[in-house]
Symmetry: C2
Subunit: 192 residues, 2 copies
């Protein structure tokens, strides 16, 4: 019951963040977006920052769970990772909301820690897939850590370009796929 309430609050936080933006996000608005009262939200979370920290923590957990469930083939693991990053609903406001939190990271250490975790997970998944793929003879030899850093940096760049420039994320996906092709002699099917 407790966990259910917390989850309801966290889901409402995500929706409210997308709707109102970071600066205008309040406990009242989160309550209005859920079946939970403002008092109940305050019972679980002292401040808006604490609530957003829980929201980011949940995001990291779901991202990790999503990538951990993947098939064993390292090519499939890389393709699934790119799908999970790039196959979003184009009307989704989530990238904008997430960018606002990233811009706030210098002022809130807990946010920064969550983003570092997310980055660590992303890079570890790429690095392991590249190493496994080289070992299995699917990919040409490469420095897996370097490939992982490249992929993470390009994904971050694509996120920023989507929000600041209004650019299609598919442009960045092509940049990554061309790089994988040049570096590993492989790219996901039907692309690059």
């Amino acid at each position: 019951m407790e966990a259910e309430t917390t989850e309801t609050i966290i889901r409402a936080t995500g929706r409210s963040l997308c709707e109102h933006g970071y600066a205008d996000l309040t406990m009242q608005r989160i309550a209005a977006a859920s079946s939970v009262t403002t008092a109940a939200i305050h019972y679980h979370f002292d401040t808006k920052e604490e609530l957003l920290d829980a929201f980011l923590d949940d995001l990291v957990d779901r991202f990790e769970a999503q990538l951990a469930c993947e098939a064993g083939d390292p090519r499939q693991r890389l393709a699934t990772l790119l799908d999970s990053v790039f196959d979003a609903d184009p009307d989704d406001e989530f990238p904008v909301a997430l960018m606002e939190l990233k811009a706030q990271a210098p002022y809130h250490d807990p946010y920064r820690e969550r983003f570092r975790e997310l980055d660590g997970t992303l890079r570890a998944v790429v690095e392991a897939a590249v190493d496994d793929g080289i070992e299995a003879g699917h990919f040409e030899a490469a420095d897996a850590g370097e490939v992982a850093r490249f992929v993470a940096t390009a994904i971050n760049g694509g996120h920023l370009r989507q929000v600041a420039l209004g650019e299609e994320p598919a442009e960045t996906r092509r940049v990554i796929e061309r790089y994988l092709d040049a570096r590993l002699g492989w790219h996901p099917e039907g692309s690059a």
Copy 2:
């Protein structure tokens, strides 16, 4: 005199943005950071958004002027571009302030237009330098537009990683230099 006042206001806007952040930036604070009164600022700029738009416009102009003055050698032009992006004072708050404006771009079309101009300039400089360098026999053959898109995406990714993760920009510079080495058979001296 007019131009001087405007310039004074724009400089003070940059300093105030770094000091207070986007949400807490006010005309009063900009006046306090300059020798110009709040009334005089209001005479030149109706809203905070208009003032920040002028600030970004000025930023684009200075970036263009900086890159236009470069020596003819295309290798030198690429090296200078990387220096101008990555050789910043590590204590400088400017990347954080700029990221806040980028996060606001979906809500303010004029900001978005400025960031698109900045991106267009950056990519045009890289593309021309790569094309000229290939023609002069300094670089291996490559699709200059693709190289330019890669460099711009990585620079954006590095900016976001610096702000959200607190990562050293030198990490991204290395990613770009390794890419240039692999793609063009060249990288700036003393690096990669």
